[in-house]
């Protein structure tokens, strides 16, 4: 049971990251490597705030804002500096390593003795002892659900439509008399805000900030997005955001199963194989649909 709870917890936290990667990768068609830097940015900001006694619930919006700022920088480099999308992300990701170290103060900041969104007096009063071990799961579910719902609401707004348009056909955005560069920057801001939010929650769940926690974050995000969108491609009733979060949970399940049964060294290969199998299965289904049609 614990095994499954952990998978769901990790899957949902990284699900928020996946939502951010979904915006840049699928909607904006912008491969954004800033993620590897903005994920620990959220965590660094959180660690810095919590060790200074700030209310942990405030870290959520502040971390989002920090990530949004990083996204704006990437956007400015790309739009005003005319640097290629991939390169802009790499530049920011590299810069953020130093920035994150400076914000957190050191490369390892433990939060064991501090109050977090998972461990504080308010929650202790709310949950009776028996439910105690589930409180983390419940908080994470609420946060993930809230984030997804807010994002869905945004995507149905006019601004959200414009965001989808700029990734699809930026000439149309210009024809609509809107600055497509600004729209892209907005998209990058929202996406990296989500990624940093995910980092903030992860850091509080792990109760420690480690500078290297972002390495490979974009890969996890992409895997979740691709698994989710491929598997649920044909289900029209399922929103893309839902499938992406489910994809994240599935990806974490794959790695957890690989971890249990194989050596950690082999884990990455096993994960890659599982990932490939999922993709191939979804291709097969696509083919079948084509034949039947």
């Amino acid at each position: 049971m614990d095994f499954f709870i952990t998978i769901i917890e990790q899957g949902l936290i990284y699900g928020i990251l996946a939502l951010g990667v979904y915006i840049t990768y699928k909607i904006l068609d912008f491969p954004d490597l800033t993620t590897d830097g903005s994920f620990p940015l959220g965590a660094a900001v959180t660690a810095a705030l919590i060790t200074r006694g700030v209310n942990p619930y405030l870290t959520l919006p502040i971390a989002f804002a920090a990530g949004a700022l990083a996204g704006v920088c990437t956007g400015l480099i790309h739009v005003k500096g005319r640097v290629r999308d991939l390169l802009s992300g790499i530049i920011m990701m590299t810069a953020l390593w130093t920035i994150n170290l400076r914000i957190a103060g050191t490369s390892n900041v433990p939060l064991f003795s501090k109050e977090t969104i998972f461990k504080n007096d308010f929650l202790a009063g709310l949950f009776p002892d028996a439910m105690g071990s589930y409180s983390t799961l419940i908080v994470i579910v609420i946060l993930a659900l809230l984030t997804k719902v807010v994002l869905d609401f945004y995507m149905k707004s006019k601004s959200g439509f414009l965001l989808r348009a700029v990734g699809d056909n930026e000439k149309l955005v210009t024809a609509l008399a809107k600055d497509q560069g600004n729209v892209k920057i907005l998209g990058l801001a929202i996406a990296n805000g989500l990624v940093a939010l995910s980092g903030c929650i992860f850091c509080q769940e792990e109760r420690v900030f480690e500078i290297s926690m972002g390495t490979g974050a974009v890969v996890i995000g992409l895997a979740s997005v691709i698994i989710g969108t491929s598997l649920f491609r044909n289900l029209t009733f399922m929103k893309a955001t839902t499938s992406v979060v489910i994809g994240s949970v599935l990806y974490k399940a794959c790695t957890a199963v690989a971890m249990k049964n194989f050596e950690p060294q082999d884990m990455k290969l096993i994960t890659a194989v599982l990932f490939l199998i999922v993709l191939l299965i979804s291709m097969e289904r696509k083919k079948k649909v084509k034949i039947n049609a």
Binding site: W97, N108, L111, F112, T136, A256, M259
Partner: protein
């Protein structure tokens, strides 16, 4: 006849009971532990070996009454978390964390599962918030610390290189242990008329360039227990030797590879000490929260005469005489 048979039967019964008794005792004392080692390198491996030795000396041996689930995180934070979670969900009797990131990750996973954690090779348990400022455990977690004997190292370098002025230290910016060690070096260096130059790296790829920069500025170099740097020691040694810059190590393995000398910790001893602490917790003699973390105070001197020859340095005789071990050749890294 009847007495003999009765005796035999009684004897057999007694024997059976005795045997049953022992097997019941064995069946009771089956232990499962999970060992999470952060990275793959000599010092940490020595810790683990020593740890299992220490347990054995206390009667807990793999294969007899102990099952060990050993997982190496290959220096990846994400893997760390997953290993810790899997140990917790397997409900092992004890979790062992080798190096700070593993220890912290295990502690986090253990908090809800109520499994005791023993750590080793954690340079600063207080900074890692695994122990409070008085050295008392913050929970069911305790272990041993491998704090570097900085004072002894500086003394030794001064003795060996009376003319040297600047010491270079390469470290990985993501390792908290290294940061605290450097702070100590910088604090004490002045007492021995030394200046410290540092070069920070992010990954192995940065090492050649960083080494080059350092070599041009310093008279000698010394190592911390920095995982990334130590893994690339042969590269650094090659470059330093070409420039005639001596490199000092922080423990025995590094001297074997060609470092001039080291005031080092014996990681096997450290591991043994940890094993003994673990045995106490496993057997229920003490709870982890009742044991303060321990350190090894004595550093031992290791020298490598072959390296000295290559560098044209003469090691003072009394040093070679007092050394714990003198290596006369440079071994290849495994």
């Amino acid at each position: 006849m009847k007495t003999k048979t009765t005796a035999k039967v009684l004897g057999a019964a007694l024997l059976t009971m005795a045997l049953a008794g022992t097997t019941t005792v064995y069946a009771e004392e089956q232990y499962t532990i999970g060992i999470e080692q952060f990275a793959e390198h000599g010092s940490l491996d020595n810790c683990r070996e020593g740890f299992l030795e220490g347990l054995k000396e206390e009667g807990i041996e793999e294969g007899k009454n102990l099952t060990v689930d050993y997982k190496n995180a290959a220096a990846d934070m994400g893997t760390c978390g997953q290993i810790s979670d899997s140990f917790a969900s397997d409900k092992v009797d004890l979790m062992v964390g080798i190096a700070t990131p593993s220890a912290q990750s295990l502690y986090n996973a253990a908090m809800d599962a109520e499994i005791p954690v023993i750590y080793t090779a954690v340079t600063d348990p207080v900074a890692a918030e695994l122990a409070d400022e008085e050295g008392n455990p913050v929970g069911e977690i305790t272990g041993t610390s491998d704090k570097l004997p900085v004072k002894q190292q500086l003394e030794m370098i001064r003795q060996m290189l009376p003319e040297a002025e600047t010491i270079g230290i390469m470290y990985t910016t993501s390792e908290a242990n290294s940061e605290s060690a450097i702070k100590e070096y910088e604090a004490l260096a002045g007492d021995y008329d030394f200046k410290i130059e540092t070069a920070g790296i992010t990954t192995t790829a940065d090492i050649p360039l960083a080494a080059q920069t350092l070599i041009e500025k310093v008279d000698c170099m010394t190592n911390l227990t920095d995982n990334t740097v130590v893994s690339s020691l042969p590269t650094i040694l090659e470059m330093a030797n070409e420039a005639g810059i001596p490199v000092f190590g922080s423990e025995i393995e590094q001297v074997k590879l060609g470092c001039l000398a080291a005031e080092g910790l014996d990681y096997i001893e450290l591991g043994k000490q940890t094993g003994k602490m673990a045995a106490q917790v496993l057997k229920g003699e003490k709870k982890a929260s009742e044991l303060s973390f321990e350190t090894i105070e004595e550093a031992a001197l290791y020298v490598n005469t072959a390296a000295a020859e290559n560098l044209g340095i003469e090691i003072p005789e009394e040093m070679t005489a007092s050394a714990a071990e003198v290596f006369e050749e440079i071994t290849e890294a495994e």
